[in-house]
């Protein structure tokens, strides 16, 4: 039966060996810790499911959960849609200087988080003379205190995520488009297809594996958003913008409550599994009924 048994197993073994050492052990440790109370230095005390109760009863936990979803949808979903258009434009033979544009679109992804933090801190300053606030005032709106307002914080963090990761997703779609056989584009052109219909009937269906890939990774990424709120909100990690990983980070590394932090991690893990499965089922439907063109 399994003709390629040994090569196949051999080829995948490095990942699992490395993961066993550097991934699995730490993971098991945090699952174990979820049932203990531990401050990182003193003894561990077994507390059963007490940590889970404490977290589930905490209003901030639920708040961070809803923040994560809102920021995930606002920061990630537009990336996936706009990324396809950008990749299409960057891939189009109609465009000159494609290389210049590619570099430009990709630059945010290259920039380190230190620079991003400073730049967004200045853009979304709470002060009335901050750049975004100046624009708001110019348009006749009131200035917003971005780090302390419900939507201000979420919008600023979402934009930061969008700005930083759009280049990454565009790059993946671009690579995907390179794998679409040229004949398909030509066939579409012969049929007199507009850009829109070319996108809809040729590009998107052919990109499906790549769309699944990005949806999968973006969903996990969105549920694990951490660095952006941390650098934008600073130490305070206020409730307007705290995400679930930031919540567990604060518990573990600022307050040294490793037990509840681990319990949060366990629950997040389960949540990611459930959401990813649902997501994969839904994404599988993309382009299913639309596929008309292409070679017969």
């Amino acid at each position: 039966m399994y003709k390629d048994k040994w090569p196949g197993l051999l080829f995948i073994s490095p990942f699992f060996l490395l993961f066993a050492v550097f991934g699995l052990i730490p993971m098991l440790f945090s699952f174990y810790l979820a049932f203990f109370s531990w401050n990182g230095l003193g003894p561990m005390t077994f507390t059963g499911i007490e940590n889970f109760r404490l977290v589930l009863e905490d209003a901030l936990f639920w708040k961070s959960l809803s923040n994560t979803f809102i920021i995930g949808v606002m920061g990630t979903l537009p990336q996936l849609i706009i990324g396809i258009f950008l990749a299409y434009a960057l891939n189009s033979t109609l465009i000159r200087f494609r290389n210049v544009f590619r570099v430009a679109v990709f630059i945010p992804y290259v920039t380190s988080i230190v620079a991003v933090a400073v730049i967004f801190g200045v853009l979304f300053s709470n002060q009335t003379h901050g750049l975004v606030n100046s624009i708001l005032i110019g348009l006749g709106y009131d200035a917003v205190s971005f780090t302390t307002s419900e939507w201000g914080a979420k919008i600023a963090i979402s934009l930061m995520i969008f700005w930083r990761w759009i280049g990454y997703n565009t790059l993946i779609y671009l690579a995907g488009m390179q794998s679409i056989p040229k004949e398909l584009y030509e066939a579409a052109k012969m049929d007199g297809a507009s850009i829109w219909s070319e996108l809809r009937y040729v590009v998107i269906p052919m990109l499906k594996p790549f769309i699944i890939f990005t949806v999968f990774t973006a969903t996990i990424g969105a549920l694990q958003v951490f660095t952006e709120p941390l650098v934008f909100l600073g130490r305070s990690l206020r409730e307007e913008g705290i995400t679930i990983v930031a919540y567990l980070y604060r518990d573990a590394f600022m307050n040294n409550f490793f037990g509840t932090a681990s319990a949060t991690a366990v629950m997040l893990f389960i949540l990611i599994m459930v959401i990813t499965c649902v997501n994969l089922l839904l994404t599988n439907q993309i382009g299913r009924s639309k596929w008309k063109g292409g070679p017969k």
């Binding site: 401050n39 801190g121 302390t148």
Partner: protein, 422 residues
């Protein structure tokens, strides 16, 4: 044994491990005792270490500097796993609280004769470095941070207030005076009195004898009238519209220091370097007067010796030398670290120290006076947790116009909830 098998399994699968040699192992083969010393902030201890190495050829001091937060996080990780800690580590005064229950991770300096040094340092600082029973000493004190009121002479002048430090100290003696001054400045010039709620609240808080926890680690903040009063006073200033919303350590905060967007900065001695660094164009516009109703302490550190060290004797000898009164004077001259050894306060070079940036003010005298007013306060392991929640409440009042009483109650509830996790 297990470790070996583990390593072997890895080595056989890792194709690239061999390329990764960072070459950091000490292959030099010299038989000097090497002491690794972790530092943060600007201490100029590297210069003193050079001197020490010249005097003691058998010792090599390897200094590693990091950002304040990173430094303490890395130290915590190393101490938590029991490996990777240095021979010497600087620990900030508030950070030392989380190690109180973990004294097995440090060398007890009393075992090396630190008792004899006790008289050299301010009592309250020394006590902070001891455990609750007073028989364990975590570290020797470096500097302290007695607080005072930095103020903008140009803003004061515009508002028709005195600008001479002595006159200012005499005029603004109480918090009522401070509030009145704030209102006057706001009316006459439109300038706010302080950057954010945090520093005013901290200054008020530091005048309380007890803060958030008592020495039995019981939460007392809810019934501590002094803390509630500090909160209410800060709220009063907020409601008068004289408190800004500049978060500490941000570029905006530094910039506003330069342009004079706020009239006073309530801070410790080491803030001198911060102001000079952030506001190079405002030389002559900043001066220093006494803190209304008495000074508190903010900051300062201890040099500790983590228990993992192989050379506790040598490490102790170096610390003892580094933090001796003579060298504390040197650190004061080099880096503005305010000495924790009172003997220094008598020294010529200290007494006559003036600062051109502050119009030739004798800064040593101002902070020397403040240092005498400071008393030891028990902070407790979860001090920062309580502090953060109270500041969140104040920020909500300041930025979002929330109801102060409701915010206080909500903060107390959050504090109680979170403390259940430890």
């Amino acid at each position: 044994m297990a470790k070996k098998a583990f390593g072997l399994a890895l080595a056989s699968t890792l194709l690239l491990a061999a390329c990764g040699g960072g070459g950091t192992e000490d292959a030099s083969g010299d038989d000097r005792v090497e002491l690794t010393f972790w530092l943060f902030g600007t201490t100029k201890y590297e210069e003193l270490a050079e001197v020490y190495m010249e005097e003691n050829p058998g010792v090599k001091i390897n200094i590693q500097e990091g950002d304040n937060t990173d430094h303490h996080n890395n130290l915590f990780t190393a101490l938590s796993t029991g490996s990777g800690a240095p021979d010497l580590a600087l620990v900030e005064i508030n950070e030392i609280e989380r190690y109180r229950d973990a004294q097995d991770r440090f060398i007890n300096l009393y075992d090396y004769g630190a008792e004899e040094l006790k008289g050299h340092y301010l009592d309250w600082v020394w006590e902070t470095a001891e455990n609750r029973d007073g028989d364990f000493l975590f570290g020797l004190p470096t500097d302290i941070g007695p607080t005072a009121m930095f103020y903008r002479t140009d803003v004061f002048e515009e508002a028709g207030l005195p600008t001479d430090p002595e006159e200012v100290s005499a005029t603004i003696q109480t918090w009522d005076d401070y509030t009145e001054m704030a209102n006057t400045i706001y009316e006459k010039t439109g300038t706010i009195v302080t950057d954010s709620p945090e520093l005013v609240y901290n200054a008020l808080r530091d005048q309380a004898k007890e803060h958030y926890f008592n020495e039995n680690e019981e939460l007392i903040v809810e019934n501590n009238a002094a803390i509630r009063e500090a909160y209410d006073r800060t709220v009063e200033l907020i409601e008068n519209g004289v408190v800004g919303s500049l978060e500490l350590w941000t570029p905006e905060w530094g910039g506003a220091m330069d342009t004079g967007d706020y009239a006073t900065l309530l801070g410790p001695a080491w803030m001198i370097a911060v102001i000079q660094g952030n506001a190079p164009n405002a030389a002559g516009n900043w001066s220093i007067a006494d803190m209304p109703e008495g000074a508190g302490n903010w900051g300062g550190s201890f040099v500790t010796i983590p228990a993992e060290t192989d050379h506790p004797e040598e490490a102790y000898d170096f610390v003892k030398w580094l933090l001796s009164p003579e060298n504390q004077l040197q650190s004061f001259v080099d880096a503005g670290l305010f000495p924790s050894a009172p003997a220094v306060y008598e020294e010529e070079a200290f007494i006559n120290h003036t600062d051109e940036y502050f119009n030739g003010l004798n800064t040593a005298a101002v902070f020397g006076k403040a240092a005498q007013q400071v008393e030891s306060v028990y902070k407790g392991r979860n001090y920062m947790l309580v502090q953060e929640e109270i500041l969140t409440a104040l920020d909500n009042v300041n930025s979002n116009g929330a109801d102060p009483d409701a915010e206080w109650d909500a903060a107390m509830k959050r504090i109680n909830d979170r403390l259940q996790r430890g």
